[in-house]
């Protein structure tokens, strides 16, 4: 187990290196001239000499691979450079925006489970009932609904009509529940179906019939014997859902005017703020790779029959 984890962590290094190389090459190929962008922030109308001076000062006139290694050296120490926009360190920008995104992701996750688990369980227990059919329609609509449209409609309903949330967003970093709900919309159908299918299958097993024969109360059978086994596939999917929630928050953040990392990244694209963009991409990729490792480990921890190798 420990050997497996160490091996996986070592395997992460080439992957992350590949991401940094790709990132760096793409940034260098991009149309924007970094020296000019910095110069335009510093001086009003930079002359060619001033741009060249900044190019020399920032080391942008050196060969590409030298630039890459000096950049990588700094990145490893957490120095992604200063944001062209605000002049603050890029990492700090990301750090200050992260809590909002984390709050949004956690709220969405809790809401997702709070709605999907009961719906999934009831539609599995009462298979082919009216409730099951209605839930199926809901699942189907949920995967066809664009989160950004639902977000806009809910913002209109709760922000403009009912005046319960702010349309222009607040500075408090408070995340409205409707924002979390909109972000969840595409996942409802996926999770409900997963629970429904998996619980339905485990309720057909022989040991469930044995439990029934013994006279154990139905809810206890479902909860203790059925759910325990059917939650395994669900719990392992949770990590990939968390990844999607963390990385896919930009749409919802832009609708509800939340200042999270997704909104920050979008801003960096429009402003050609390369340090912030690079910081976002590298940190998020590292988080994704780590979370995937966590998923594999938890898979084996929950179900001992699965061996890690």
């Amino acid at each position: 187990m420990i050997r497996y984890v160490i091996k996986r962590i070592i395997l992460m290094i080439p992957v992350m290196l590949a991401v940094t190389v790709l990132m760096f090459i793409l940034s260098s190929l991009s149309a924007g001239d970094s020296a000019r962008i910095i110069a335009e922030k510093t001086y009003n109308a930079p002359t060619q000499e001033q741009i060249e001076e900044i190019r020399h000062r920032e080391g942008l006139d050196k060969p590409l691979f030298q630039q890459y290694f000096s950049w990588l050296g700094k990145v490893v120490q957490g120095d992604f450079g200063e944001s062209y926009n605000t002049g603050r360190p890029a990492l700090q920008e990301l750090q200050s925006a992260f809590p909002v995104t984390l709050r949004l992701a956690l709220k969405s996750l809790v809401l997702l489970l709070a709605i999907s688990v009961p719906l999934g369980v009831f539609s599995a227990v009462y298979e082919n009932s009216l409730f099951d059919k209605i839930t199926e329609v809901f699942s189907f609509l949920s995967v066809s609904m664009p989160a950004f449209w639902l977000g806009l409609m809910l913002l209109y309903l709760f922000g403009v009509k009912l005046r319960m949330i702010s349309v222009i967003g607040g500075t408090s970093g408070e995340v409205p529940l409707v924002a979390a709900f909109s972000m969840d919309i595409g996942f409802f159908g996926v999770v409900i179906r997963m629970i429904r299918v998996s619980l339905r299958d485990s309720l057909k097993q022989d040991y469930i019939r044995a439990c029934k024969a013994k006279g154990i109360p139905v809810w206890k059978i479902i909860w203790k014997h059925g759910m325990k086994n059917s939650l395994i596939p669900v719990s392992t999917k949770i990590v990939s859902i968390v990844i999607s929630l963390l990385c896919g928050s930009a749409v919802i953040e832009s609708i509800f005017s939340l200042n999270g990392i997704g909104a920050l990244a979008l801003e960096a694209v429009t402003a050609k703020d390369t340090p912030v963009l690079q910081c976002f991409i590298l940190i998020l990729s590292a988080v994704v790779v780590l979370l995937n490792l966590l998923a594999d480990i938890s898979y084996s921890a929950i179900d001992r029959r699965i061996q890690l190798k």
């Binding site: 149309a31 066809s144 989160a147 806009l152 996926v190 859902i241 896919g248 991409i281 994704v288």
Partner: protein, 290 residues
């Protein structure tokens, strides 16, 4: 936007080697409904210049934010452009870009997957490692990296989405190729002196094609949603193109004064995605009953 990722992975696992029989697929009414709606959209996209009552880009400030009228059935937007005409032309972006993504992902993913499965050994483990990396990357990060460096445009969005999606098809084709490789007729083909290229591109391809088509049909809805979503946040097709995501993003600033603007583009997206999901579901159900 990654919400479908899990679903897709699950789909890839559940698809076995299969064959189509169209009369079975179209047994259900809702599958037929899906197909009919899709045909309507294809028709609209093809004949957009004839069907649209106005030029989708024609700015007419005097007539801005008008309600529905005989001349403008869905009203006009903030620049006085005809909303119905923009929706009609928008179907071209949606269908064209999503088909383009699918064609690229299938053209890259399927050969890579078949090669990986058929060759086995070192080639297989190297390709699998690469596939795993691409499967782990969230589409937002890739789209952001491409838009941030190469610029945001419809073409670059297609590139970004193809980078994310090809791995799914490679994985599916690899799994299926491994299954087919074990069949007796494969042995017969080899014994009769068939070359590797001929086996892979004629016999294996023919057998995995139905599963690939089934996965692709289920994916189109997701791809259409992603294209509209990325355009909505400015990482895809750029204004003033009459793209549905852009129309929605434009409508946000009028949420207090003219909420009508956001209604029709959203409804159109729901309709087309729903139609593709209905058709995809029909094909998958057919697969499960066999």
């Amino acid at each position: 936007m990654d919400s479908m990722r899990q679903k897709r992975e699950k789909k890839a696992e559940s698809f076995g080697v299969q064959r189509f029989s169209w009369h079975v697929i179209f047994r259900k009414k809702r599958t037929i409904a899906g197909a009919v709606i899709i045909l309507c959209f294809v028709f609209t996209a093809l004949f957009a210049p004839v069907l649209a009552p106005h030029d989708p880009l024609l700015v007419d400030i005097v007539n801005k934010l008008q309600g529905p009228s005989p001349a403008y059935p869905f009203g006009t937007d903030q620049l006085g452009r005809c909303i119905l005409s923009r929706l009609i032309w928008g179907s071209r972006y949606s269908l064209f870009y999503s088909s383009l993504v699918l064609v690229i992902t299938v053209a890259v993913g399927v050969p890579v997957g078949m090669l990986s499965g058929y060759m086995g050994g070192k080639v297989d483990s190297l390709l699998m490692r690469i596939i795993d990396i691409f499967m782990a990357l969230p589409s937002f990060i890739v789209a952001l990296a491409i838009a941030g460096t190469l610029g945001a445009s419809g073409r670059n969005l297609v590139l970004a989405m193809s980078l994310v999606y090809w791995a799914d098809y490679a994985r599916l084709s690899r799994t299926l190729t491994l299954q087919i490789k074990e069949q007796n007729y494969m042995m017969a083909l080899k014994a009769s002196g068939c070359s590797g290229v001929s086996i892979v591109f004629r016999h294996v391809l023919k057998n995995i094609a139905p599963s690939v088509v089934a996965l692709a049909t289920m994916d189109i809805g997701t791809i259409i949603l992603s294209i509209a979503g990325f355009s909505f946040i400015g990482l895809g097709v750029q204004a003033p193109a009459p793209e549905w995501g852009i129309m929605l993003s434009d409508s946000k600033q009028f949420i207090q004064t003219c909420p009508r603007l956001m209604f029709f583009p959203g409804l159109t997206i729901v309709l087309i995605v729903l139609a593709f999901n209905l058709l995809g579901e029909g094909i998958q159900d057919e697969n499960e009953t066999e």
